[in-house]
Amino acid sequence: MLRITVDMNLCESHGQCVFAAPDVFAFDDDDYLVYEAEPSPDRLDEVRTAAAMCPVRAVAIEGVSP
């Protein structure tokens, strides 16, 4: 199972995760980041890129080091 968390205390809405994995991360109508906590495992590559691209390292994948 693929499980992700975003530390919203760190998140600065840079949007790099939305760019990297648009089916997992998005901005809502109020411009806050929303995301699917347990996306399909076939999204692993995109989610890994999303975590790597986050400038404030707010995206964590369970069991995967940054």
């Binding site: 600065e12 809405s13 840079h14 949007g15 790099q16 939305v18 760019f19 648009p22 998005a26 901005f27 809502d28 109508d29 411009d31 790597a52 691209m53 400038p55 390292r57 080091s65 940054p66």
Partner: protein, 393 residues
């Protein structure tokens, strides 16, 4: 491949090393860094150096460690820090270090970054003149941002505007000197630069447009910055934010094509002067002849590392550039290439509400977008750019 040397121990070098391991490289990994520090991150470096408004050593130290990039415990690399690479034998596959050591390699990642550009006409720099690129430079600048001082910031790009805004927050009397009519005009066009000019104005920052710094007066210690129209701006400190020069001096005579940085193909293979890739050499980050942005360095580092491991099977770099700038309490974000547009369309311009949305077009095609406080709109434009056959150049 038994041994890979990464020349440069900053963001791009570290990310390349991490990707090499993630892609299964099990050989010896050596990172060489000229600064005596483990990899640190530049954007928070600027923020912590400038945004706090105080200059106490203890705070500076706490902030400095906060900019350290996390290094995975299982990276299994050898770190040669405080050691500069001074020469490359691209055919003998050896890197020469300042202390005389020679490092043979099977694969080489060139990630030596860039240094602040200082025009020769302004040197030697009197005391009180700063640049901002490294951790040490950030600490020195931070200590100089004393309330009440007169600061002249020179430079029309993002860094100049960010430093001017931050110096204003720190209580300095700030003048920003820019070569064009307004700051950021060349980078993000008419509308967004107008918006930033409005923010500068509200913050009490004087902007002198269409001028360049020509002379730094004062001998040993700065007293004034002289402009190209003869104007003298009295100053206690000056900050030169005039762009960056890739650190390629050590590659002179190596056979690498060096014009405006290390020249690479779309897989980040380093090209020789005759245009062919050199064996086993890739490059990433600000040392390349590409756009120097955070996300660009990270994307290049991953592609460069995969190219070393997988060769032609590696995916070429296909990302849409993106960058941001924090100033006056807002974040200007951009995707694509606003700088190459021949037309811009302003969908929203609300200075009081801190909202901006501009798209950039070239020959009628979308090439970029910039927003303030409109993240979902930026993401939508970014998606269109990624889906279109958007070419990086």
């Amino acid at each position: 491949m038994k041994r890979i040397v990464v020349a440069g121990a900053s963001l791009a070098g570290l990310r390349a090393a991490q990707t090499l391991r993630a892609e299964g490289f099990g050989g010896a990994l050596v990172l060489v860094g000229d600064e005596p520090y483990m990899p640190y991150d530049r954007p928070p470096l600027l923020k912590s150096a400038l945004m706090e408004g105080t200059s106490y050593a203890a705070q500076a130290k706490a902030q400095a460690t906060a900019t350290d990039l996390p290094v995975p415990g299982d990276l299994d690399a050898t770190w040669l820090l405080g050691t500069r690479a001074v020469g490359l034998d691209a055919y003998g596959k050896t890197v020469r270090l300042a202390d005389g050591r020679e490092l043979p390699y099977d694969g080489l990642v060139i990630a030596t970054g860039a240094a602040a550009r200082v025009p020769a006409a302004l040197t030697p720099l009197p005391a009180g003149v700063h640049t901002l690129r490294t951790r040490d430079e950030a600490a020195a600048l931070r200590a100089a941002l004393v309330p009440g001082r007169r600061a002249v910031v020179v430079g029309g790009g993002f860094l100049g505007s960010e430093i001017a805004a931050s110096a204003g927050v720190c209580g300095l009397d700030v003048t920003l000197v820019v070569p064009e009519e307004r700051a950021l005009l060349r980078q993000v066009g008419y509308s967004a630069s107008q918006f930033i000019a409005g923010l500068h104005h509200s913050a009490g920052i004087r902007v002198v447009g269409g001028r360049r710094a020509e002379v730094l007066d004062g001998g040993a210690r700065l007293t004034a910055v002289g402009l190209d129209d003869g104007t003298e701006l009295a100053a206690d400190i000056a900050v030169l934010a005039l762009g960056a020069v890739p650190n390629v001096g050590w590659l002179a005579g190596s056979g690498i094509a060096l014009d405006g940085g290390v020249r690479c193909d779309e897989r980040l293979r380093v090209l020789s002067t005759d245009g062919t890739p050199l064996p086993g050499i890739v490059a990433a980050g600000d040392v390349t002849d590409s756009l120097g942005h955070w996300s660009n360095a990270v994307e290049q580092a991953a592609v460069a590392a995969r190219t070393l491991v997988h060769g032609d099977a590696a995916q070429p770099l296909a990302a849409v550039p993106s960058f941001w700038s924090d100033l006056h309490g807002v974040t200007l974000r951009a995707v694509g290439r606003p700088d190459i547009a021949d037309e811009e369309r302003t969908a929203e311009y609300n200075l009081a509400g801190r909202h901006l949305e501009v798209t950039y077009h070239r020959a009628g095609r979308l090439v970029g977008a910039a927003t303030i406080g409109r993240n979902s709109r930026l993401a939508a434009h970014r998606r269109l750019l990624a889906e279109s056959a958007f070419a990086r150049a």
